[in-house]
């Protein structure tokens, strides 16, 4: 789907989005001016916060260099209160993201700006969205060695309304997935077909036991597309630019299918087709 290969990471875009959503009380003009406001954010909004799920960070060390975004958040370990809510900006490899106080912005970025409501709906929203996009989030981990060398098995996975033929080590560009961040591990449940040199599984319509693991690599914008409308001889022309928001996933593993041990097995020795009889599951 994303044919264009020129990308630029979404970090700046996201940070401005988050700031603007959280700062509905404070009109803000530029990115750098967000930061002094954010220092005040916990204090101004504390009466509306009930739960310990909001973590108030110490901003003093962070605001020294508003223009230098290289803040690595290594010693941050407040995972106790927030298991459901998405953690904010803990990318060990993505140095460009700036840190913000409230965490709900990632989870429910399109909600109206009421912090107390967000904590109630976040769990359900995440579950629903996961069903729509056929993904399940696992927490990010640093010390996992998830990336295996190439195995000759493939699976056909559906994300949203797009299908991809995927095998180990591929990277696919997918419509922006809302509730995951960089370095998240996902499980893609909706697998329509899986194959390997020794085994073929065809799902009717999906295979229930096969799961595909993926890691979110980046949230980025596609290359710019210029939309140009013109009516000749009528003095009408419009120019508009558009960048689609995408997520890049790297496929790490396909579970539930036999993989041959010798990687050079080209011709299938024995082929057994399994069918999962399922009454039509709504896509």
């Amino acid at each position: 789907m994303a044919c264009r290969r020129y990308f630029f990471t979404l970090t700046r875009h996201y940070s401005s989005l988050r700031a603007s959503k959280s700062q509905s009380f404070h009109p803000l003009k530029s990115l750098t001016s967000h930061i002094p406001f954010l220092q005040r954010l916990p204090h101004t909004l504390s009466p509306t916060f009930d739960s310990p799920s909001f973590l108030f960070r110490n901003f003093s060390s962070r605001t020294k260099n508003p223009k230098n975004p290289k803040i690595i958040d290594d010693e941050y370990d407040d995972h106790d209160d927030n298991v459901e809510d998405d953690d904010e900006d803990e990318d060990d490899e993505e140095d460009d993201e700036e840190d913000y106080s409230s965490e709900e912005e990632v989870a429910v970025s399109n909600e109206p700006s009421k912090f107390s409501d967000r904590s109630y709906f976040a769990e359900d929203k995440i579950q629903e969205a996961a069903d729509i996009g056929y993904k399940v989030i696992e927490p990010l981990q640093r010390s996992d060695r998830v990336f295996k060398p190439y195995e000759p098995a493939f699976a056909v996975v559906q994300v949203g309304s797009h299908q991809f033929k995927v095998s180990n080590g591929d990277c696919i560009y997918v419509e922006k997935l809302k509730y995951c961040e960089v370095n998240d591990k996902l499980i893609l449940n909706k697998v329509l077909m899986a194959g390997s040199p020794t085994q073929t599984m065809i799902g009717r319509p999906i295979l229930p036991d096969v799961a595909v693991n993926a890691v979110v690599e980046e949230h980025a914008l596609d290359a710019k597309v210029i939309i140009f409308k013109k009516k000749r001889r009528k003095n009408y022309r419009r120019t508009k630019g558009h960048r689609q928001e995408l997520t890049r996933l790297r496929i790490t593993d396909i579970q539930g299918i036999e993989k041959p041990e010798t990687p050079l097995a080209v011709k299938p020795a024995k082929t057994s087709a399994k069918k999962a009889e399922k009454v039509a599951v709504a896509a």
Binding site: P205, P268, A280
Partner: protein
């Protein structure tokens, strides 16, 4: 750039050609979706026709819908080219199920 002759040298024509390029880009982005689907259909058709006389794309797709297989055309075309045996396996299953059902 790939504009030939005067279309890359004369300023007025450059402006005109740029506009035409953008317009045709817009029109072709919609066409692209149609074109690719056509391409996939013809590819699936050729691979399926080898399976026997009087067996063609339309019957294959009809069988797919009957069996509730939700693979879309893009994937089918990819599989048809890269992993041809899998298409044949789908076809075999359809045949087997027909015999067992009837």
């Amino acid at each position: 750039t790939s504009f030939r002759g005067a279309h890359s040298r004369l300023t007025q024509t450059i402006a005109q050609q740029k506009i035409r390029a953008l317009v045709s880009a817009r029109r072709d982005r919609d066409r692209q979706k149609r074109d690719f689907r056509r391409l996939w259909i013809t590819r699936i058709n050729t691979v399926i026709r080898k399976k026997g006389v009087y067996y063609n794309y339309s019957k294959f797709i009809h069988e797919l819908y009957k069996r509730q297989l939700l693979l879309n055309h893009k994937i089918l075309a990819q599989i048809a080219i890269l992993n041809r045996n899998f298409i044949y396996m789908i076809y075999n299953e359809n045949i087997k199920n027909e015999d067992s059902k009837e």
